[in-house]
């Protein structure tokens, strides 16, 4: 997928990325939240043109889905893959990864489970991928004392190639039940169509989200998690970066959440396994 960017066409903004109007609408929302109404309107106008002529990004996605239907795989196979190597002869196994070994696992009686691992943020910039460049950008903002959402640069976000994988969460309320998504990444499958984390029907999932968001809100420190979960008939595997943004008084009021799907994400699991 080419790196999303914006390019000048006349006096309007046009999308030259793989994603069409969803991409421009996301940019419009970010500009609106950042307080730049005029720029938001220009992005929205460009998106509406795309809407009038049909969103070709959606058509492309549908065509791709029609060609390659996701093959359901037995749940047991997924589960086996996710387990660490067997402890042969009860020998100690040295974990070679620079990350926390503390894994938080929760499950419910409906068969849903969430395995969540905290990862060291220091490993991110070295990877140089979308999450790494986003974290680097946020670190630069923080170092300059400009970690306010109105200072966000949509061009920089677009360069990171992460627009469709971004959530913006309003955390102005001190009650996590009132947290709500101001933007939900159009390219993120998990948890879509819910305006707030608490609205998700799987309560362990909703509780986990609210807890993680609230931790970042209270500590004002970014967090990186690797998450494997099974919700209903779908298993997910992704890395999540949560970045706090402050208001003028230095309170965390918004979170920028970026998702990177890992191998084995969004796989349908056969019922009964």
């Amino acid at each position: 997928m080419p790196t999303p960017s914006v390019a000048p066409v006349g006096t309007e903004i046009a999308c030259v990325a793989d994603e069409g109007c969803s991409y421009l609408r996301a940019l419009s929302t970010i500009e609106h939240i950042a307080g730049f109404e005029h720029t938001a309107r220009c992005y929205a106008a460009a998106a509406s043109r795309c809407r009038e002529q049909g969103c070709w990004a959606a058509r492309k996605r549908d065509a791709r889905a029609a060609v390659e239907p996701p093959a359901p795989i037995p749940f047991k196979a997924v589960h086996r893959m996710s387990l660490p190597p067997a402890f042969a002869g009860h020998e100690a196994v040295t974990v070679q990864f620079n990350r926390s070994n503390l894994v938080d696992i929760v499950s419910d009686c409906s068969g849903n489970y969430i395995e969540r691992r905290c990862i060291d943020l220091g490993t991110l910039p070295a990877r140089g991928d979308s999450l790494g460049s986003l974290y680097q950008y946020w670190s630069d903002l923080r170092a300059a004392g400009a970690c306010r959402f109105s200072n966000i640069d949509t061009v920089q976000l677009a360069r990171s190639g992460i627009i469709g994988k971004l959530h913006i969460v309003d955390v102005r309320s001190s009650d996590p039940q009132d947290f709500r998504f101001e933007l939900f990444g159009y390219d993120v499958s998990i948890g879509r169509y819910y305006e707030s984390p608490r609205a998700h029907p799987v309560s362990i999932w909703a509780d986990g989200l609210m807890r993680d968001y609230n931790t970042v809100r209270l500590t004002a420190a970014p967090r990186l998690h690797r998450i494997r979960c099974r919700l209903g008939d779908t298993s997910h595997h992704y890395t999540r970066l949560i970045l706090p943004f402050l208001d003028k008084r230095g309170r965390v009021t918004r979170l920028l959440v970026a998702i990177r799907e890992e191998a084995g994400d969004n796989i349908k699991v056969q019922a009964g396994h």
């Binding site: 903004i13 005029h38 720029t39 300059a144």
Partner: protein
């Protein structure tokens, strides 16, 4: 212009003076500075430049560009000229959308309708696949507007 930067105050507060100087800390950014900053941001996005890249071209940090865009810092005339040249726009571009009293159009009235109309016209225009038909439409529109083709280009 000086009066535009001053806000009325009671005589008792200002030792008999009728106006006090407007400050960013107390009164927030000036709406005109915000508008100019917004135009700068829009044009920068259209050009696909990050704040860091634009800042490097004019010898500023990205924080300075941020402050220009939010209207927290005023852009000097020389800097505005420099930015206009880098972004390839006339100086008047930064003041487009300001009415005679210096207020930004709020987008709720006639201006918004005009924008929607313009968007629909553009959408319909680019919806015509045949380039010959498109140029014929353009010709009709320019003739109806009473402009010459050369002028419209």
């Amino acid at each position: 212009m000086t009066l535009a930067k001053l806000t009325p105050a009671s005589a008792s507060e200002n030792g008999g003076l009728m106006f006090k100087r407007r400050t960013v800390i107390v009164d927030g950014p000036d709406p005109i500075d915000q508008h100019v900053g917004g135009q700068l941001r829009l044009r920068r996005a259209q050009a696909g430049m990050t704040q860091t890249e634009l800042g490097a071209k004019v010898g500023l940090s990205f924080q300075a560009v941020q402050k220009y865009e939010t209207g927290e810092n005023r852009i000097s005339a020389s800097r505005l000229y420099q930015l206009a040249r880098i972004l390839d726009v006339p100086l008047a571009y930064f003041f487009e959308g300001l009415d005679e009293t210096g207020h930004t159009e709020d987008g709720t009235g006639a201006a918004e309708l005009t924008r929607k109309e313009a968007s629909m016209v553009l959408g319909a225009y680019y919806g015509i696949k045949d380039p010959r038909l498109r140029s014929a439409c353009l010709l009709i529109m320019t003739r109806m507007a009473g402009r010459s083709e050369a002028e419209s280009e």
